[in-house]
């Protein structure tokens, strides 16, 4: 009988440390499935961020490195330049990519580095205890915005994907979410596109994935998925940005 579904080779068969309802497990698996399907596991060099998914290398089964907080795209730039035959991707959270690493992000994108970026936007710093992220919504309560984010003092949710989209060297940006099985399938398609682009030397490609953090949103897993659909994706509209 033909086997039509199985555990991805690129994902180790061990339990993750993520909280119940967290999106990282799904996103890790999607990345692993895409890499298997494209047959590029042996060419992959991945860069894990600083954040909840810092030990993504414990789950993925291919070459991985850590980068200092925010520096993933500087590290990725050099790896890809030194080894253009490899497939290089970063997996970064909102704080990593759009706060402490904004400079690295914008300039790697502006140079048009031929790398793939998986950007997990969950509107909060998870690993450090639920502080305000650059993408935290107005009114959203976090450890450092106890009365909710106030535009007067904390500014507005940073739309880094839209900012990057104006750069001529950026070739592909799509925003997706993990709020339902249908959205998960769309996310996988976008990740596939972002990797294919690199294989075909198209240039800088990024997928922004709206991902649930029930723990620091103070919601049940189901409520968190609904919040992405009903609230978060109003602020961060889904679809192809570039």
């Amino acid at each position: 009988m033909k086997k039509i579904f199985g555990h991805p080779k690129s994902l180790r068969n061990i339990p993750t440390h993520y909280c119940a309802g967290c999106g990282h497990g799904i996103a890790h698996r999607l990345v692993a499935e895409v890499i298997d399907e494209l047959g590029i596991r042996e060419r992959i060099i991945a860069i894990a961020p600083v954040g909840c998914s810092v030990i993504a290398y414990d789950y993925w089964d291919f070459d991985c490195t850590e980068a200092a907080h925010g520096r993933a795209l500087a590290v990725a730039t050099a790896i890809k330049r030194v080894r253009p035959e490899n497939i290089v991707f970063t997996y970064q959270g909102d704080g990593d990519l759009a706060a402490i690493g904004t400079n690295e992000t914008i300039h790697a994108a502006n140079r048009g580095e031929n790398i793939t970026v998986i950007f997990i936007n969950n509107a909060v710093y998870g690993m450090t205890g639920g502080q305000m992220a650059p993408t935290t919504l107005l009114g959203q309560k976090t450890a450092t915005t106890p009365s909710g984010r106030n535009a007067k003092f904390e500014g507005y949710p940073l739309k880094i994907s839209e900012i990057l989209a104006v750069l001529p060297a950026v070739k592909y940006i799509e925003r997706t979410s993990l709020s339902s099985p249908a959205e998960v399938i769309k996310t996988k398609k976008a990740i596939t596109q972002a990797f294919k682009n690199q294989m075909e030397n198209v240039g800088f490609s990024m997928v922004e994935i709206l991902s649930p953090c029930p723990t620091y949103w103070d919601m049940s897993p189901k409520q968190a998925l609904d919040w992405i659909k009903d609230v978060m994706s109003k602020e961060f509209p889904l679809g192809r940005i570039k």
């Binding site: 596991r41 042996e42 060419r43 992959i44 060099i45 810092v54 030990i55 290398y57 993925w60 089964d61 291919f62 070459d63 991985c64 490195t65 850590e66 980068a67 200092a68 520096r71 500087a74 590290v75 990725a76 730039t77 050099a78 790896i79 330049r81 030194v82 080894r83 490899n86 497939i87 400079n103 690295e104 914008i106 300039h107």
Partner: protein
């Protein structure tokens, strides 16, 4: 065949020396007084199929070096004092991940934005770690333009041999000064020069590097160890490595030590001036110890010399940083005096002698 000489600045000699030593990745950011180095690499790297990137910041430059190094390339960045402060995070990560890299600091006056004149006030930062955590970079201090070229071969070989960061600590005068030099290593003072050369030429495949997991298990580069005891184990390994470096890699020049009453201790540009004082004012019977590796520090050589001399004078372009290491080495056996200029001031031979007379 007579070797022809060329005229170069120290900055350019460092760049050409790096290329000669197999460096094929350079990332840098403009800062005076090291700009000639970056500009030289921009022209030179493409000619040897190397990679040059002008980074968006010092922080990005050192992290690009991190990426290039973990991908197996011989990689280097350069900067001057304020920029080197920004690179400390990256250097600490390189240390934690045990990645080889060469970092050039052409020191200028500080603190803060300071000025662009020569200084040696980053000695503490370079030799004691600099970033967070218990680590050391190997620190080499050239004092001539020829050494700027020559030491790059040692720097890259040591970086690869120990999977460690190596800092080239020069100053604005050395970086900017032009001198004739031979574009082949002449003044290494290496006990193991031949070994280093072989190591450099072979450029063995680095088994730990990330190259894609074809026909092998995946490689992981990390400095995060959350499991109880795991980080302490890594630190013990690092300390063992540092002890091995201390035992094997000390490099030092001594001059006129025989019969010397007063020992001058100085490195880099200052050592050249101190040497000038030894020659010019013979009647004071001055000898010179010039540490070439500032870390590991030549304690034993200084200690032995102290047993035979009346006093020692440490000369630096700082408020007295290497002075502390000299004091530790001498262990109070003889009086240690200090003469230093700060904020861009450069000591003269006459100033040194005045201080010697006052001893």
């Amino acid at each position: 065949m007579a070797k022809t000489k060329v005229l170069m600045t120290g900055n350019e000699a460092i760049a050409e020396g790096a290329v000669h030593a197999g460096c094929r990745f350079y990332a840098g950011y403009p800062i005076t007084p090291q700009n000639e180095l970056t500009a030289y690499m921009a022209k030179r790297m493409p000619k040897v199929n190397g990679i040059f990137i002008q980074a968006e910041s010092e922080i990005s430059a050192i992290n690009m070096v991190f990426g290039a190094s973990l991908a197996g390339a011989r990689a280097m960045t350069s900067s001057s004092s304020p920029g080197i402060s920004l690179k400390q995070e990256g250097i600490s990560y390189l240390a934690g991940c045990q990645l080889p890299a060469v970092i050039v600091n052409i020191m200028r006056g500080g603190p803060g934005l300071g000025n662009i004149a020569p200084s040696q006030s980053d000695y503490f930062q370079a030799t004691k770690g600099g970033g967070h955590g218990d680590y050391h970079s190997i620190v080499l201090a050239p004092s001539t333009v020829q050494e700027c070229f020559d030491f790059m071969e040692i720097a890259f070989a040591l970086a690869d041999r120990y999977r460690n960061t190596v800092i080239i600590l020069g100053d604005g005068m050395l970086g900017q000064m032009m001198e004739p030099l031979q574009l082949s290593v002449v003044s290494c003072q290496l006990s193991d020069k031949n070994n280093l050369k072989t190591e450099n030429r072979k450029l063995k495949t680095k088994k730990w590097a990330l190259t894609g997991c074809k026909n092998r298990k995946p490689n992981i580069i990390r400095s995060l160890f959350l499991k109880e005891g795991a980080l302490e184990e890594l630190n013990k390994k690092l300390q063992n490595k540092y002890n091995e470096i201390r035992a094997k890699e000390i490099r030092c020049e001594t001059f006129n030590l025989k019969g010397a009453k007063i020992i001058l201790v100085a490195y880099g540009t200052t050592a050249r001036i101190a040497k000038g004082a030894c020659v010019k004012f013979k009647k004071y019977k001055l000898g010179l110890i010039r540490p070439i590796t500032l870390w590991p520090f030549p304690e034993q050589i200084i200690k032995n010399a102290a047993n035979k001399a009346k006093a020692a004078l440490v000369v630096e372009m700082s408020a007295g940083q290497m002075l502390e290491d000299v004091k530790l080495a001498v262990e109070g056996k003889i009086p240690i005096e200090f003469f230093g200029r700060m904020g861009g001031g450069v000591p003269t031979e006459e100033e040194i002698i005045k201080k010697v007379i006052a001893l």
